[in-house]
Symmetry: C2
Subunit: 381 residues, 2 copies
């Protein structure tokens, strides 16, 4: 193999990219940049990024440092995935549902309608061949992926009018991200993809009738309740939405074994931390929303069942035309159906909910009695 051919196969971009993170020795300092374009209002995942940065530094004895670059600063154009692929940054933090237009299989690393919840995702990734299959998929995109946080189950959207059944969805103009929009469209809805900045304006101006965005905590912070009185549950399109750390493959390969281990462990630490933070905050947010006027409505059964059927149809079509989807989705589904045997978890949770609600209400009453003139303390009895 002559030198020209070698340069040809690696490519100029590859050589430049390799230059950004030279093969490191154990004692050599590493300085990386991490790009994110998540809205700044998403405080929980950004706190998780800080956990990643702090943990990598601690684990490496201060020798491996990562600097966060938010939004346009970080990539010349395009999203975090493109920036990481190109090598504009060594790594990026994002959620894979953002890239379903490029390839639907990305959604299998984050959320699909009626997909895995957070604990199931961890089990499939770690012991159901999930991470191996996703790494193989991402290899084709020049990226090494690490699960890094999950919102938990999201809300079932915010609506200006209540939902009575499938008819309520006909022609409904609703903001939707990920694969949920494609299912929603099959039910007669009109999904549109808008950024978080645009959603509120579109709801206010009447260009949108409804919107789905994030977990209860995220939705409260964005302020969807200022424009929509009705909030449905559950969000069948996101039983849990996973975030990801994307690492440029050349930058990864240039790390020592020890620094690779440091980065992987730090991502796992942030993964745990983000879910824990959401699990604390989501219920508090929902309590606050309901206490301040939001009407929490169950998603009508006819919608749930029609959406389930439409999702299965979509998956069958995707399997016929997208081999990557077919392979990864088959693994995820085979794992998922065994989770039907969750009687001990489900029975425990079902018994606890009304008992805890009684305790919650009693504590709230006691707090209100103790401070009758105080601010409504729904969220923290």
């Amino acid at each position: 193999m002559d030198r020209r051919r070698f340069i040809g196969s690696a490519g100029l971009a590859g050589i430049l990219a390799a230059g950004m993170a030279p093969a490191a020795h154990a004692n050599q300092a590493i300085r990386w940049r991490l790009a994110s374009r998540l809205p700044k209002i998403m405080d929980v995942p950004y706190a998780g990024v800080q956990t990643l940065i702090r943990t990598v530094k601690e684990l490496s004895g201060g020798k491996f440092e990562i600097a966060l670059q938010v939004a346009e600063e970080s990539t010349a154009s395009g999203g975090v995935l493109e920036g990481v692929q190109r090598g504009s940054v060594e790594c990026g933090f994002t959620t894979a549902v953002r890239y379903v237009a490029r390839d639907e299989a990305f959604a299998l690393d984050s959320a699909i309608p009626f997909g895995l919840d957070s604990r199931q995702m961890n089990a499939w990734l770690r012991h159901g061949q999930g991470i191996e299959l996703l790494r193989e998929f991402y290899k084709g995109h020049g990226v090494v992926n690490f699960p890094m946080g999950n919102t938990g189950a999201q809300m079932g959207g915010w609506y200006k009018k209540p939902l009575h059944g499938l008819n309520s969805l006909k022609g409904l103009r609703m903001r939707f991200s990920g694969l949920g929009g494609r299912v929603f469209e099959r039910l007669g809805g009109r999904p549109g993809s808008l950024s978080s900045d645009e959603i509120l304006k579109a709801l206010q101006s009447g260009k949108l009738d409804a919107a789905e965005w994030g977990s209860p905590h995220d939705d409260l912070r964005l302020g969807l309740h200022d424009h929509c009185k009705y909030c449905a549950h559950p969000g069948w399109w996101k039983g849990g939405m996973q975030f990801s750390l994307y690492v440029n493959r050349r930058a990864w390969d240039a790390l020592t074994d020890e620094n690779q281990a440091n980065l992987e462990a730090a991502a796992a630490e942030a993964h745990l931390d983000i879910q824990a933070q959401y699990d604390l905050r989501n219920p508090l947010a929902l309590a606050e929303l309901v206490a301040t006027g939001t009407r929490l409505i169950p998603m009508p059964k006819t919608i749930m069942e029609a959406a389930w059927k439409a999702a299965q149809d979509l998956y069958a079509e995707l399997a016929a035309k997208n081999p990557q989807w077919k392979k990864i989705h088959a693994s995820q589904t085979a794992f998922q159906r065994t989770q039907a045997w969750n009687q001990p978890e489900a029975g425990f949770a079902a018994f606890m909910q009304p008992q805890l609600m009684k305790q919650y209400e009693a504590a709230l009453k006691a707090a209100q009695k103790a401070a009758p003139a105080g601010r409504h303390k729904a969220a923290k009895p």
Copy 2:
């Protein structure tokens, strides 16, 4: 302060303990011993210990190594807690419910009846002041604690005869560990603490009528179904049982900051890994148990409600006499009641279960049709 007084306050044991792990420099090799007395049949937590050992080694570039010592080998006498306190070993792996006879507050680090499930435990520990409160408690025992795995929701016990209501518990001789036994006793039962080796013999000889042990996966491996046809759910006494890594405080203090970070990150990695493994295996085990003759019965509502009331009474009594319990339990309970607002998670899970069961059964039927003479494939359709 003269030298004699200094020696007096640190104590001879302290000096010896400090000697076992001298103040280390960054490049100095660390060799630790980790004790465990968990039954060897518990393959999931032991695999987690291997994850800990491997991860610490990787994160430290091979300079921090931990050797596992199982059972009697590791401690001159007593349990893992005593061995770690004494400094016979630098660290140990156990579950805090083993030490409720010493102080009921240990249970708050693992499982109490109607307590936190696995995700809730993570949220309380990391963002609800849980870890701070537990570290303060363990400081009094000379230990630094790290959460390291969780079984998930356990079964509601194995019974030779079906449970019809509270009367079925009167005089029932049942193996019980942790605080669940104290509640069971208040319902008229006769709890006894037996090791895993003894349980099967006692069931066979008729000395026991019933037994609770672990998660579906653990119970299947132990073989409780060979002696008891009926298995109840949910296990109201363990909505999730957490395992812990205990580290001798002096050994911890002697580590460099980097090695402290390495150990903590490795424990978090094992924590995630153990839960993921259980979440994969527990449903498979339950499916296999039911396919091979176990009768899965819902715990009668009268028992659930009486147990809930008896548990609240017990907690009020403990709060009156055990200040450590009172402080930690109050924090855990205040967090727990906010979790009543889990409609998105609960609604999603409730819709999914019957859909997944249909998929599971269809896959099973297809597998049986494809291989009619093969072994029953209940667990892996």
